[in-house]
Symmetry: C5
Subunit: 325 residues, 5 copies
């Protein structure tokens, strides 16, 4: 039972008791209290116990056990089942670790179920308990507090991706073209897509929480979900922006590779000419004609060398000026 | 009549009788029972018999016979006609085999018609019969059970496509550029499109089944269709994700081919210079001038060879350092 | 008046009389009958006569005369004006011929006006007359029958385009790169766009016919339009699919041209080296130094030849193994 | 006051009087008449006089003076303010000249304000006056007549753009690759975008005019706006079609440039080999070995020449057959 | 408290008093007056004082303090919280500086909070005070006036971006291909995206202000927001237009780089042939055959030179004519 992180009853925004799982049913009968229970990768057994205590729908509980759900909000009668994806940067391995948090939200209870990589919500709970005037709004506010913490975890992730894009820009516009750059662009794209899929359903979920005409989310709690909505829209925009820039970066990279090819071709052509001309001149003076007056000149050889050097120099200057070298 | 796979009457979630086709009309008059009949590529004759027994609409029966329909849900009075596409991996031939399953769903009957590649639904029926508390919800639950089985068959298909993308990434970023890689990208695209067309209408069909204000799908069966909806959305997302990555992979492949061209050009230019310089020097000392002092030096030849080798080596080192070789 | 293909009155699904244009007004007063008249590229005069008999709106008649309309459905009071585009493959000239069919549909009449390339609807009329139990549903069913025939004409067109894509794939992945392939891709794209514009409004037209709360289309005729709707959606999907594959084919073609360039460059570089090395060796032994011991060896020349051949062979094998030749 | 092109009162579809600006107020009190006034680039003074006479909203009048508005329809109380963009081909300078026409439309008046390039609407007015049975529908019909004339002006513009695309296709698929072709593609794209921005809001404007539940546009005038709507949709489709083909043309152009590069490389490689082989053979027989039997043969030289020519010819034929030359 | 730029009470469109922060509560009780207060990067302390005076929602005030919000409109009970982004060109550093302005709008007050780069709104206030007949419409009009000023600041920004595109076109189509051009295209894209994100939510905000059925924005003020809406739509269209042209410019740039590569290859091939032919001829006459009649001709050498020159000239003319040089 170590996977129950926390289980407490709240009245008027204050924690009134830490309770055991089997006391929940009794606590729920007290209309002025609500129960907040936090689970971490619970066993099937524990989950079915929770299901019985709160009367949760079988399909939702199955989902909560299996994880690997997409973010969603599903009303089951007077209970909401909510799935969110969490993300954290794994600095050692330079990748993003994803996790999941599931919520069961009722009139007087909230159950959070954490899977995979995410921070513990103990700190969120502490912050909530320090503002009883807000927590007294009920389990809806607890939901907001955890959702807000989850969404806030995305900002450093996005910042890291934006930073990676900037590194890529640096490489693309200033350095030479390496295969690694292309592979890195591809990987950044992959990560952006992964984060996008984790975040984009959030906008719709918050939107529905803001508008639901349900007692579970009280009227004065709704502006808080608008706040989360706003953050999720911002994260989405940042991702889209980064994706669009990345696409342009890929194309720019490609343009620059082609320009590079042009430059190589020009350089090669230039040097080929500079080497080709002396070879041609030498060939001419290597012909075996009986009568070639220059060959017998005393300064024929220096003259030929000078001719060679002169033409090379001329070519060099011409190419240099026209930007081919 | 061998194409009737199974035909039974159910009461209170339990199979009460295996019935013949001509007994159906009589069975349907008993309001507490429903009939579940499974057909496999039925003949026109058989289908029209089924049509008469259940009073099905002519257009729907025509569709059910012809197959090659797109996935759809069509209400005909108080009967639903549903078409779904099934998919299975054909490992021998490394391709995806598609099939179709059609449903006629009424208040107290469900007819499934299988065409082409798909698993038999006998196992689904067995599972349903093992949970009579669910099957008693009526033919709507039987529909869910078969749809769920169909959708679940798509996951291994998608996994195989994702795996193929990963193989392609390996080839693109680590190996040399082969024509086969491009052809394989094209084929993966084609397969993704085919699966996409088979799956994407499912989202809408489930959505309508979830919301239909019809007696055929009872209220407490609807969350089950939300489950299927959720799976179909996830499959769609996985396909879109793979498609977008594939597009980027195609572009990355293209970038790397161009980088490869740059490298070839550089290598060629470098070696052309290394071969060109000795040729030029040899040409010069092959000139026939009467007066070329070096020619008569005792160490002229070794000197020329040394000059040649020295310049080649210098060029080699220069190119090596600047990454051209 | 030869452009009147057919003009008849129907009662209870059976043809009761072939009538003249000026008898129409009288026939329309009989509430149990409807008039079905088929025109082919009618003169302005004939059209205005038809207009008077049926009381059609001036704007619709103008449209029906001018042709070159886009597919649309326009209600004018209690009359519908419908424009559809027809398509047929012209095998001689390997192109698609487009035509137009306009409909005026009222409570008890239907007028079809054919322009340009399309099959005659005489056969459709015959088929309708052979099923009086369906034709008795009124002019709405006649509309369905003609629309269905028009939509069915698109399937061979699409099949021809898909076949052309397959031919292109064959060329792209198996043959060398010809300018014609690119031109053919472009032309296929152009044809797909033309068919798309002809077909895509159909989906919306059928949708409206299915849902219109109008007496003109009787309730039990609506499922038939859903059938046409379904076909038009399928045609649209096939076009979109082909377009997306064509786009990928264009990109794949481009990739393969670049790979081809790489191969040419490698081959050229390899052979340049194989020719360049003997030239260099020959140059060295063509130098005129007084003291070059090899020159006086008895086997100097065979040795030089062997050196040359040996280095050429070595290079050849190196390049062959590394895939440059 | 020369910028008042025309100002008249109409009753029952017929022009009853040419009136002065200051008589307008009086005329408007006669409920059976409407005023149609046409202005051309009016001064601020004139506009404010018109504003006073008709009681127009300050913001609309400001817009009408400044021009450079985007097409829009804005209801101000019981007056509509409509902005449309006009376009004409300027053949001398091969470009499209844009203008603007603004409308103020009330129950019993219409004001047209022309800016920039457009035809005069005098002819439209004449045509309207020749069909009093239509013009009696009121100022809404006058609006239709002018809008129709404006939209019809776009067809020759589109035709010119389509023709330019065809010229480009000719250049791309038949001629060599010039920088001008790319610049021309770019300019065509720019023009298409400009026309698109001028036309696309029209669809929405017509749609609203068709549906507005307002007395200004009488019920029997609405089908006429559907006609304009239809034309604007067609123009939009033609633009989109041209844009999509242009995009494909750009890509095809690019493919063909690359194929061209392949051909150049092949040709160069072929000729380099044909020149390189004699150079190599000549080099070999230019070596200075004491003992080279061929050198002393009587037919050594012709043999060498024959060898050279033979190998060149062989290479030429090989390259010719394999398509490299 | 220097960050309070201005704080005044208005009655009937005229400034009646400059008031202190602590007098606000009292002023708000007078129903015929409204308060307009302008803040510039206020301290947290000052903001919470303002919050108390006007009774603002905690979440909105937090947002107003933190800045870095996306443009949005959020109703909190009978108060609106609006965030807009401002933009100004920074000519020294050739970049766009963004700022933010937040509004709290109530029935009888408006608070503006400026952050970052933007002009002061003192001038806007002065203009409003000069038209008391408009300002008497209440705080809604003040909101309009400031929004209008903010939107108008975007036009010079867009003009600068369009100008930069034109500079790029000049470079792309007339000059040689520099790496800087590609980098500049990328940067322009980045700037367009930044402006797009700042402007695009404006359209929706204005739309809601135009339609809100709220007392805060009086009916006769709504057309003014339509004006701002119109400007924001125009700015959006200009950005989209520029983006689409930029994309095409990038592709055109790329095409031209490839054409350039073709030209380089052709030039190189041409000159290689012109240098290669004399080298080949010289090689032939450098062979050491005993019997080479030409070698002993008196005019052998001039003939060889003439042959060389002649073939070079012929090649030159051939290449010149076919456009390879």
């Amino acid at each position: 039972m170590s996977s129950i992180v926390n289980c407490a009853a709240y009245a008027d925004g204050k924690r009134v008791a830490n309770i055991e799982l089997n006391e929940i049913g009794q606590t729920l009968t007290q209309t002025d209290q609500f129960v907040w229970i936090g689970l971490h990768e619970p066993s099937e057994e524990l989950l079915s116990q929770v299901q019985r205590e709160f009367g949760l729908h079988e399909l939702a509980v199955e989902d909560a056990h299996r994880a690997h759900q997409r973010p969603k909000l599903e009303p089951y009668g007077d209970t909401f089942f909510i799935v969110l994806r969490t993300a954290q940067i794994n600095n050692q391995q330079r990748r993003i670790d994803f996790g999941e948090t599931h919520f069961f939200l009722g009139n007087n209870f909230i159950v959070t179920v954490r899977h995979g990589s995410s921070l513990s919500y103990t700190e969120v709970r502490n912050r909530c308990e320090s503002t009883p005037q807000l927590l007294r709004k009920g389990p809806g506010f607890a939901l907001y507090a955890v959702m807000d913490a989850i969404v806030d975890q995305y900002f450093p992730v996005i910042d890291a991706l934006v930073e990676e894009l900037e590194e890529l820009e640096e490489k693309i516009f200033n350095e030479t073209y390496k295969r690694e750059t292309t592979a890195q662009i591809y990987n950044l794209k992959r990560q952006l897509l992964a984060v996008k899929h984790a975040v984009s359903p959030l906008t719709d979920i918050c939107n529905r929480l803001m508008r639901f005409d349900s007692e579970i989310i009280q009227e004065d709690t709704r502006p808080y979900f608008r706040d989360v909505y706003d953050h999720s829209v911002r994260i989405n925009e940042m991702i889209d922006n980064t994706r669009e820039l990345l696409t342009t970066a890929l194309e720019a990279n490609f343009s620059l590779i082609s320009i590079s090819q042009n430059e190589i071709s020009k350089k090669f052509a230039g040097w080929a000419a500079i080497i080709g001309v002396p070879t041609m001149i030498a060939g001419i003076y290597g012909m075996n004609f009986s009568f070639m007056p220059e060959l017998n000149w005393h300064y024929g050889y220096p003259f030929a060398l000078a001719l060679t050097l002169g033409s090379c120099l001329t070519l060099y200057l011409i190419f240099k000026r026209s930007g081919w070298l």
